[in-house]
């Protein structure tokens, strides 16, 4: 990594405003594109620092992440694009990725390929190639391919594809420098001349017949004619809306002809691409014996009809006890230390003075963050990062699909709902990988009902600390029952059975503690930089309100509401702060 950092350094001042600046920046734009879970975000982070959360399930990245980076002295705008299986999309995340690819001026495409899934991934490579954008193929997870017994010849693959191919191991930073050297070299060189990649003559002639009509005053910008023609043949409605009437009617005629022969045109195109990809795969690789490892045996247990559920309960229960154990221990120690320090500091101020009130408020806020929130939040975020990175979440989705079907959802919704335990915002964003609007709506509603890490911290720090862990567990159990009941109720209001789950179950991966720590920090930063200062400020305001005896008025004003909620009037001020906290956190 050190040698990498010397040459590939993030430029200062790059931020979330880049998408607005990008078109006028004048620097080259490089997009990382590939199938879901092939490691695009890992490559992005290897160059840009940890700015895009990684995980081991399809659809970790649901929005574009931008970063201005400096490579070998040249600045470039690097974009991490959500994963797509092909340029025919099936959910909003994929659709957004495709729009980005077709509408923005991208100088070089880095097609990230999971080398262990080469034959499947090459179908997207062939499709991207048609776009005529300069392109580099990045054979990521080269170590995984070796383990699976797949020996790839990058030279042969590059020769056949007429594209540069670079092997990388993203999480170790291997091959990244060569990759970006190729990116710089490819700028301005569109892929050309791979006649060997052409399809069967009858399909090619159909494509050509449509392509003849494509050029006539279409609103498709600079897209290559062949690409548009193929998409029309496949029945891509988005592109068809912009294409010329002649091209549309020609495509329609050919599609009908194909369907009447018993093979829908989109199937024909897909199998052509599949054939070419298989041909490339067979010519450029040698498949040997895979190295057996413990991961295969692990799945036999983790997806077992009995042991799978036992492990699920044990993992979630174990996580709970570990967080409570670590948090409770640290909380007690830290509170004792802060109390000791407070007693020392008390002597410097006159008790009851304004200075004393302000000091007490600031101190209270600092202690609240450091001794009550962080001891629970940090272990919690570590546990969540571990479950995400190792690839356990899709297994949970598999186990719970049957149960969730009873409430009209399918297992894929488990991932956003579980992410809701971290923070509601990414959880709601994660629903974008669900195909139907109804499923997205239901999963979003349910994800917001799950206690996020800030709320969980309160449950851990207060309920578990004062009432005992069993009560805290009971609160989580009750919440799960509320979520299930709400789901059941909502599906009665919107009765429609989801089409059925199609979920890729990824290989297990072990990530270093360093990678997890960076991810934890990415999420923790929000608390430290936004919520904590507000906590300190709020604590001071609360102290001042007490100092000037204003809290009595607030409590009196809120007492009718408190009576309605069945709460003592003294908690009025606390509740106002609770609402404030809720609106700035999560």
């Amino acid at each position: 990594m050190k040698t990498l950092a010397e040459r590939v350094l993030p430029a200062a001042g790059c931020c979330a405003t880049c998408p607005q600046r990008a078109p006028s920046c004048g620097v080259m734009t490089v997009a990382l594109i590939g199938q879901p879970n092939c490691g695009k975000s890992t490559i992005f982070n290897a160059v840009a620092g940890y700015r895009s959360a990684t995980g081991n399930f399809a659809g970790t990245t649901v929005h574009l992440a931008w970063s201005r980076v400096r490579v070998n002295g040249s600045q470039l705008e690097l974009v991490d694009v959500p994963g797509i299986y092909s340029l025919t999309t099936s959910n909003p995340t994929e659709a957004a990725a495709k729009r980005f690819l077709l509408e923005k001026n991208i100088d070089v495409v880095v097609n990230v390929v999971d080398a262990a899934l080469l034959s499947r991934s090459l179908e997207l490579t062939l499709e991207l190639r048609e776009l005529g954008i300069p392109m580099v193929v990045c054979l990521n997870m080269a170590d995984e391919a070796q383990r699976k017994g797949i020996a790839i010849s990058p030279v042969k693959l590059a020769w056949m594809l007429k594209l540069p191919v670079v092997e990388t191991v993203g999480y170790r930073g291997e091959g990244i420098r060569e990759l970006f050297a190729q990116v710089l070299a490819q700028n301005g060189h569109a892929p050309n001349g791979a006649e060997a990649l052409r399809w069967h003559r009858d399909v090619e002639s159909a494509v050509e017949r449509i392509a003849l009509h494509v050029g006539n005053g279409n609103g498709l910008g600079t897209l290559p004619k062949r690409f548009v023609a193929v998409k029309l043949l496949e029945g891509d409605e988005e592109l068809a809306a912009h294409a010329s009437a002649q091209a549309r009617s020609m495509a329609q005629k050919l599609r009908e002809l194909s369907a009447s022969r018993g093979r829908p045109a989109d199937s024909v195109v897909m199998s052509e691409r599949h054939d070419r990809a298989m041909h490339l795969f067979e010519q450029s690789t040698r498949v040997g014996r895979p190295q057996r490892d413990a991961r295969e045996k692990l799945d036999a247990v983790l997806t077992h009809p009995v042991w799978g559920y036992a492990v699920l309960v044990a993992v979630l229960g174990g996580m709970f006890w570990a967080i409570f154990g670590a948090g409770g221990f640290l909380e007690a120690k830290l509170l004792a230390a802060f109390d000791w320090a407070f007693l020392r500091m008390q002597g410097w101020f006159v008790p009851g003075s304004l200075g004393f009130t302000v000091m007490k408020g600031v101190w209270g806020g600092i202690v609240g963050g450091a001794a009550i929130v962080l001891p629970y939040l940090v272990p919690f975020l570590f546990a969540l990062a571990f479950l995400e990175d190792v690839g356990y979440l899709p297994r949970v989705a598999y186990l719970l699909d049957g149960l969730l079907h009873r409430i009209g959802l399918h297992g894929t919704s488990v991932v956003p709902i579980l992410l809701g335990y971290g923070c509601s915002v990414p959880a709601c964003l994660a629903t974008r990988v669900l195909p139907s609007p109804r499923d997205r709506f239901l999963a979003t509603v349910l994800a917001t009902l799950v206690p996020c890490s800030a709320r969980s911290t309160v449950i851990f720090a207060l309920a578990a600390f004062y009432l005992g862990p069993a009560w805290a567990l009971a609160i989580f159990g009750f919440n799960a029952a509320v979520v299930l009941a709400s789901g059941w109720l909502l599906t009665r209001l919107w009765p429609e059975v989801s089409a059925g789950m199609i979920l890729e179950v990824p290989r297990y991966q072990w990530r270093s503690a360093k990678v997890m720590a960076r991810k934890v920090w990415l999420r923790l930063r929000e608390f430290v930089t936004v919520s904590w200062p507000l906590l300190v400020g709020g604590s001071v305001v609360l102290g001042l309100a007490e100092h000037w005896h204003l809290d009595g008025y607030v409590n009196a004003a809120l007492s009718p509401l408190m009576a309605l909620l069945g709460l003592p009037s003294a908690v009025g001020v606390t509740l106002v702060f609770g609402i404030l906290r809720k609106s700035f956190r999560c």
Partner: protein, 96 residues
């Protein structure tokens, strides 16, 4: 529309299958099968094809989840995929 009707997927105008072929949800665990036909609508068919579940694809059926849960299959040249039972019914296979 009742839930049952909503589940019914439009069939593609392909040649009817000989009865020797079975649906993926009827196949015993640990069997190796070849996909003969995917009879689902074009969206799901494409999604399955992208993961390697397409005519001619070879699958290893690992197991089925209880409570009517999904079927776990290892796809040759691809990853393991969990397919909902309702959808698996429309994937016709031949046991190898």
């Amino acid at each position: 529309m009742t839930p049952k009707q909503a589940l019914a997927v439009t069939e593609t105008p392909e040649i009817p299958l000989p009865t020797t072929h079975s649906a993926l949800d009827q196949v015993p665990a640990q069997s190796r099968v070849e996909v003969v036909q995917v009879e689902s609508d074009h969206g799901a068919r494409r999604q399955l094809a992208q993961l390697g579940i397409r005519k001619g694809g070879v699958l290893h059926v690992v197991r089925c989840a209880p409570m009517g849960g999904p079927i776990l299959v290892e796809v040759q040249g691809s990853n393991t995929v969990a397919i909902g039972r309702g959808l698996a019914r429309h994937v016709k296979v031949r046991i190898l």
